[in-house]
Symmetry: C2
Subunit: 332 residues, 2 copies
């Protein structure tokens, strides 16, 4: 009735637990006939090793912690949701398990001190660097995903390059007054996208006008607020949004001002969020390769667990322009 143990199998087969352990793990010699008997009985009883006992002696749990900032999880969920499932899928392929945890401040989550995980994937750029560094000091293998910091392994989006490409797309369509909006610039990814926007202007010898930049606030109304305040003071012909929810929300503000998309204002987003196909018109945006990044982060982390003393690697993943209808055709 109770869970089967090595001992139960041993008694049943008439050997010692050591032999059973050897037979099941494949390490050490066991007579072929007894190995088969052991395997059969184990199968019959539905045996699986108790993880607590196993971790205790092996000093590893085969669990990976997936850490994300609690605020992050509230709004842009499709983004991190896809990353989460991709990470889980990849971990499972390697027979690892995923511990999901959120952090709100700089205190180490208990799963670390209690040895519940062998390594960490730290997701997003809202995790406090002080926390990241104190984790690093504990010498827990870790990889940053969609974030980067000197000295710490990371897999992240090429935000600068992506925003450069998005802005360049608008410039090629003939736009000269191109705005940039974000929910907030209090976020590394968004600041990098802003930087890419500025570099594109510069590369095409367009002046940077601070009037054309607006922040809103975090959450689903952010883009609406930013765009509304921007339209009150100036009139761009195109706008680069820091992400797709911001773009979608800005589109409502544009229409609320009686303007058409893309005829009056062209809009380009960032992320290729699932909602991008639902906006009216469907949103031109930069695709971010979420599951690819997840796979890379898992691979890197498992390597780091096997082989801890390595120089940090920083893996930057390029984005891809997805053209839909929110930017229209070239201006004349």
């Amino acid at each position: 009735m109770t869970r089967p143990t090595l001992k139960a199998i041993a008694k049943r087969v008439g050997v010692s637990v050591a032999t059973v352990s050897r037979a099941l793990s494949g390490r050490g010699r066991v007579d072929e006939a007894t190995r088969e008997r052991i395997l059969r009985v184990a199968e019959e009883l539905g045996y699986a090793p108790d993880m607590a006992a196993r971790s205790l002696v092996l000093r590893r749990t085969e669990n990976i912690g997936f850490l994300i900032h609690a605020l992050q999880s509230l709004s842009p969920h499709t983004f991190y949701g896809e990353i989460l499932t991709a990470v889980e899928r990849e971990l499972r392929r390697h027979r690892y398990h995923l511990h999901f945890a959120t952090v709100e401040d700089e205190t180490l989550p208990p799963l670390i001190k209690e040895n519940r995980v062998d390594g960490l994937i730290l997701v997003g750029c809202d995790l406090p660097p002080s926390l990241i560094h104190s984790l690093k000091e504990r010498r827990i293998p870790l990889v940053l995903l969609d974030n980067h910091l000197p000295g710490i392994d990371s897999v992240f989006t090429d935000n600068i390059g992506g925003a450069f490409q998005a802005t360049t797309h608008l410039i090629r369509l003939g736009h000269r007054r191109i705005a940039f909006i974000a929910e907030t610039l209090d976020n590394l990814s968004f600041r990098e996208r802003f930087e890419g926007y500025r570099q594109a202007l510069e590369a095409h010898s367009l002046p940077f006008d601070p009037e054309l930049v607006a922040e809103g606030e975090r959450g689903f109304e952010g883009g609406f607020l930013a765009m509304s305040s921007l339209l009150k003071r100036t009139r761009p012909t195109a706008v680069v949004a820091a992400n797709d929810p911001t773009a979608a929300s800005a589109m409502r503000a544009i229409r609320a001002h009686g303007l058409r998309i893309p005829e009056d204002i062209a809009v380009v987003g960032f992320d290729d969020d699932p909602l991008a196909v639902h906006t009216d018109p469907p949103l031109t945006t930069m695709r971010v390769f979420r599951s690819k990044m997840a796979v890379l982060a898992v691979a890197r982390l498992l390597d780091l667990i096997k082989n801890p003393e390595q120089p940090a690697l920083h893996i930057r993943v390029e984005t891809q322009l997805i053209i839909r209808q929110s930017c229209g055709s070239p201006l004349t």
Copy 2:
């Protein structure tokens, strides 16, 4: 340099490990002065009990498994994403941890047999019942979330009541030819919403017309396909969508047919997904209380872990009509 253990504290303070354990757990008598010394040293060393050792002797892990169907996670992510973070937050409040796992078929995920969790929250109605029953047979405490099955504890949305209310809202606005669309009816929640739609028609003595029902396919184009095929054969004045992504996608199809929302066709969705405010016009929908359900499911599960022999409870949570602009004003 290595993780501090009870033994390390014991040596430092000059007592036995048993005394340290007693002092830290608060069970059993310890002299007040030595207790304080132990607490101080433990704090100093940053001690936290090793979970593997602890689980081994206590026979519990303080981990809860969050199980979801792998397909589910791909598209309607905001929905389950919010549930996930709400469940994690609530578990953390109770000093429990969340193990995230997806299943693709009917094979038991390894975390069960390996004793990695004390209980399970099974999310969504796409998990195969055969799997659910085989988990139940292993006598692992479990609660279904956003799903229900006889004999198994559950916390779920009042889909029938919600769809009834949504449909009634349209009827009150004067609509008589009301369509129902879903990505698929191969899903309990959607079938229940369909049932609520039919009950509302019946309650208001409106005929049910199978012509007015259409399925699309799973994924982001589902609503578009369903609505397009429906519009090819008939012309409703309103449509109830099985969820918000379906509604948003149907709105594109309606516009693609040169029809206006809500003037030509009114649309009501279900879930109050974050995208509902981004559609044009913003979507009238039924709000589903995701974090409330998460809190209830966690509470129920922890109670079931403490006290396993209880009759199954089925907790149905009502929805709320959120009126935006996709249904317009009463028809004349």
